[in-house]
């Protein structure tokens, strides 16, 4: 009996790592409405996790990484979350204002204790900031209008000044009682 119990304990101890092994099914999705974003805005996404390892409630680390079209890491975030059998998280990452347009990739990673990790990715497009373009366009237009206005005013003023001067010259001669 004692021997049987000892064998069971050894088996359990050996099996524990296998039974407790990290194993997650991870999927990240970006909704269609966020598939094209302007720089400076936030991209929203959903991370769905299935705990395939065991049924116990567990704390996991979630890592979020955003890479630009040049495969450069631009945003990185990590958080701890609790999961039992499954979990779904809605998160967002802010795209830096000066980000160039192009296809960006979001990676969601769950590191395992053995050094590996579960990874899922989704891509979206950063487009040129229409609002900024409109604002710059309006500013340029206003500046052009202002310049034209200044030119027009100075042109009109030049003519007005000339006429005033001529009035003065003619009136001066009239006052001098010059008979025309």
């Amino acid at each position: 009996m004692k021997t049987t119990i000892q064998i069971i304990v050894v088996i359990l101890l050996l099996a524990a790592p296998i039974l407790a092994q990290d194993n997650y099914n991870l999927k990240v999705e970006i909704p269609e409405s966020h598939s094209k974003i302007s720089a400076g805005e936030s991209v929203w996404f959903t991370a769905k996790i299935l705990n395939l390892g065991n049924e116990n409630r567990k704390d996991i680390t979630l890592k979020f990484e955003m890479y630009d079209p040049n495969k450069k890491l631009v945003v990185s975030k990590a958080e701890t979350a609790a999961i039992e059998t499954h979990a779904s998280f809605v998160r967002n990452l802010e795209i830096p204002k000066n980000s160039p347009p192009g296809v960006y990739i979001i990676y969601v990673k769950i590191p395992y204790s053995d050094g590996t990790e579960a990874v899922s990715q989704a891509s979206f497009e950063v487009t040129t900031n229409k609002k900024a373009i409109i604002i710059i366009g309006v500013a340029i237009l206003l500046l052009l209008i202002l310049i034209l206005l200044v030119i027009w005013i100075s042109y009109k003023w030049k003519k007005m000044y000339l006429k005033m001067k001529i009035h003065q010259i003619v009136n001066k001669k009239l006052r001098q009682n010059f008979k025309f």
Binding site: L162, K163, Q176, F180
Partner: protein
């Protein structure tokens, strides 16, 4: 009121200017393109002309020597046209417009621009009963003169 274009030799130009100005006893707008207002006024005075009746537009120098003299650059035909028109409006009664060396404008403007300027002022003067006398030396601007002949009532080639 009529408009006359006088084409004469360079040597006779000065003499003809004095003759023309002397022939009028009405006030005049004198557009000086050959000499400064100061020089032309001295010449006219020596010729026995009462220059008090003349309103000078000096297109030779921008140096302001007298308050009652207007200085306009010869390449600013728009400003010059405006000045002539304003003088015509402001001076009461009959008057004469004298341009002493029309072809000098060609140094600063292209032919078509000068022709358009001449057309404008002759038309305006005609509507406002102003006598126009334009003088030009023979040796300069034959093509311009060919273009503007028709704008004048009379053309005298001397």
């Amino acid at each position: 009121m009529s408009s006359t274009l006088i084409i004469t030799s360079v040597e006779s130009l000065q003499e003809r200017i004095i003759e023309v100005v002397k022939s009028f006893d009405t006030p005049g707008i004198y557009v000086s393109l050959n000499k400064t207002q100061k020089s032309i006024e001295e010449i006219l005075k020596k010729g026995g002309i009462n220059t008090k009746k003349l309103f000078f537009i000096d297109c030779v120098t921008s140096e302001q020597t007298k308050d009652d003299v207007l200085h306009i650059l010869p390449n600013d035909l728009e400003q010059l046209s405006c000045a002539i028109n304003t003088f015509i409006k402001d001076i009461p009664g009959r008057k004469v417009l004298i341009i002493d060396a029309l072809s000098t404008f060609l140094i600063y403007n292209n032919e078509n621009k000068v022709a358009a300027f001449v057309k404008e002022i002759t038309e305006y003067a005609s509507k406002n009963e102003v006598e126009v006398i334009a003088l030009s030396p023979k040796t300069k601007g034959e093509e311009l003169l060919n273009k503007i002949f028709n704008f004048f009532d009379k053309v005298k080639k001397e």
